[in-house]
């Protein structure tokens, strides 16, 4: 206040002569210099994911697990179903790294076979959910109106179905096998994905860039493919990483109930079930290895999903 008064008494604005001012050259180029490399959305997300140590540990674990799932049974001198009764319940040793089970089968070989089954079931379930969910949710969200209304009612009905009960029922009818397990898991499993895609599409389709695209006369299918789907990818990928562990859990759960992969093949749930009696007599390794790998695979997918959630959220971008 004081200062303002002083200036006013000194000079009224009109009295300030023009030669008090000098023209300062602005460097227009300098203002436009980009100080750090421009990052695409995916590069930025990756950078942030790498910083998340727990998520990276999960990723590394999953990569190693995949490698072992592919090569483990190949490098092992034993086969998955070769029984060797005199050799039952061997503790872990140089011959049998993870020991042998009640039928003398090599737990090492069976564990990696189980990894194949679990990863395959998990990834297939996620992929099928993704495909159906993105088509169904995309159409429902983009069309809106009556079509959306009807499609959402169908989803509401399916959503009310108790997931594992339906899966159990389907497997009792269809008979347990790898194909039927994946089918049963995806029959109602895609509903969650469809809901997420729809919610995202509903939100994004009203943004200006979609409007701009439409005003250029872009076809609907192209808008869905080029504008909507790439921008909904974040939550969809997170949902996929979380579908995998729940499918792996479901497979293990079903195998545990005797509705999963059938002997002589191996799955982690089945191995845990077989080990139930054995651990009471102290043969801990028959349970430990499948239990460890089920838990850590689910753990790895969960922390990776959490990490991706943070990394892919544009609101958290610095």
């Amino acid at each position: 206040m004081k200062v303002a008064n002083k200036i006013e008494t000194a000079h009224s604005p009109a009295e300030i002569p023009n030669d008090w001012f000098t023209w300062k050259e602005t460097d227009k180029e300098a203002a436009e210099v980009v100080s750090r490399p421009s990052l695409s959305y995916w590069q930025d997300a990756w950078k942030r994911l790498v910083k998340n140590k727990l998520a990276m540990a999960g990723l590394v674990f999953l990569v190693l697990l995949t490698i072992m799932a592919i090569f483990g049974p190949i490098i092992s001198p034993y086969t998955v179903d070769k029984t060797n009764l005199p050799n039952q319940f061997q503790p872990p040793s140089g011959d049998h790294w993870f020991g042998t089970d009640s039928l003398g089968r090599d737990v090492f070989t069976r564990t990696w076979f189980g990894a194949r089954i679990s990863l395959f079931v998990g990834l297939m379930a996620a992929l099928i959910d993704f495909t159906i969910g993105i088509i169904y949710g995309g159409i429902s969200g983009y069309k809106g109106g009556r079509a959306d209304n009807i499609m959402m009612r169908i989803i509401e009905i399916l959503y009310g179905l108790p997931y594992l009960l339906v899966v159990i029922l389907l497997l009792v009818v269809l008979g347990p096998s790898l194909g039927t397990i994946i089918l049963a898991l995806t029959v109602t499993g895609w509903v969650g994905m469809a809901r997420i895609v729809r919610g995202q599409v509903l939100q994004i389709k009203n943004y200006e860039f979609v409007l701009a695209s439409r005003s250029f006369g872009t076809k609907t299918s192209r808008i869905i493919r080029k504008n909507l789907i790439p921008n909904t990818m974040g939550p969809i990928i997170v949902q996929m990483t979380l579908t995998v562990p729940s499918a792996i859990f479901a497979e293990a759960f079903l195998s545990f109930l005797g509705l999963g992969i059938q002997s002589p093949h191996a799955s982690w749930g089945m191995m845990a079930n077989d080990a139930l009696g054995a651990i009471l007599s102290g043969h801990w390794w028959t349970l430990f290895f499948p239990a460890f790998f089920i838990s850590f695979t689910m753990f790895a997918f969960n922390v990776l999903g959490d990490g991706l959630q943070d990394a892919l959220d544009p609101k958290l971008r610095k």
Partner: protein
């Protein structure tokens, strides 16, 4: 509100009808007749048996009879256990499973919320990291693995708790820990994240500025709003606990519904599978309905009579 409830009831009815029809399709699509295993029955006996179970009627009549029996809550006899009806099994097993389920939910909700609050209040501190690591582990370890580990460590090795059957409170400890850990972890994570969000709100700052005790701020002002998401996932958690009882009861030899259900699956005792599935589904669907209504009543921001369902 009334319109919403009616709409939800309609959807419930359709969902239930799908389950009932699915179970019927199951019954007629089993290879051969459910009675085929009875060796040594001659043709007349077979015919009489079929007539007794209405298996000689055409499918659409069987379907209507089946619908009628479901509506009148008569799930029929068990094939594999003579002189037992599905209703007998339900009557014997359900109270035990219900007890297990209720205690599990109470334990999971209380411990989960407390863990979540502590983690949120000590945000980014050691306690927070420990609680959340515990939570992720709890989500990752399947309940049947946890159950077996608990038995091996606490029952067989150190003999702290008895296992098998359902006769004293001590017998209940291990099954409840095994069953409650997963839901507890989910609740803890959810409570933590919503609590963190709520604690930054203006009205919490206001309460703090007013000089309210931290205790009062957390439990009286913050918690009420932080718990809404927990209410929404109660339905899913209930479904998880219910299916969890199958394996837990199997492992701990608890004579509840889940054990009968698993046995019926292994023995392919179709009437028991069907009856139990329908019963479980009806129970769960009704619970989901109650959760939804409760949510509508508890959260004043939701006006369900305006536009039904979620957006």
């Amino acid at each position: 509100m009334l319109k919403y409830i009616l709409k939800r009831l309609l959807i419930m009815a359709v969902t239930l009808w799908i389950i009932v029809t699915l179970t019927f399709v199951l019954m007629v699509s089993i290879p051969g007749s459910p009675l085929n295993e009875e060796r040594g029955t001659n043709e007349t006996v077979q015919k009489n048996l079929e007539a007794h179970y209405n298996l000689d009627e055409p499918y659409h009549i069987q379907y209507l009879l089946y619908l009628k029996s479901i509506v009148t809550l008569d799930f029929g006899p068990s094939i594999k256990q003579p002189n037992q009806t599905v209703n007998d099994l339900l009557g014997r097993g359900f109270p035990i499973s219900f007890e297990l389920g209720i205690v599990t939910i109470l334990v999971a909700v209380f411990s989960g919320i407390i863990l979540g609050i502590v983690a949120a209040l000590k945000h980014n501190g050691i306690i927070d990291y420990m609680a959340m690591s515990l939570a992720v582990l709890g989500i990752s370890i399947p309940n049947f693995v946890l159950a077996t580990l608990l038995i091996q460590q606490l029952a067989v090795k150190y003999e702290i708790f008895p296992v098998a059957t359902w006769s004293s409170p001590a017998h209940m400890v291990l099954p409840i820990i095994a069953l409650a850990t997963g839901p507890m972890a989910i609740i803890a994570r959810l409570t933590r994240s919503t609590m963190l969000e709520v604690l930054t709100q203006d009205y919490i700052k206001m309460a703090r500025a007013k000089g309210l005790s931290p205790w009062k701020i957390v439990f009286k002002h913050a918690l009420k709003n932080a718990l809404m998401p927990v209410v929404t996932i109660m339905g899913t958690l209930l479904a998880g606990i219910l299916t969890g009882t199958f394996v837990i009861e199997k492992i701990f030899a608890i004579p509840g519904m889940g054990k009968y259900f698993v046995e019926s699956i292994n023995q392919r005792d179709y009437p028991v599978i069907m009856g139990t599935t329908v019963f479980y589904s009806a129970f769960l669907i009704f619970m989901l309905f109650l959760v939804d209504i409760a949510y509508g009543i508890l959260d004043p921001r939701i006006k369900i009579h305006k536009k039904g369902g979620e957006s």
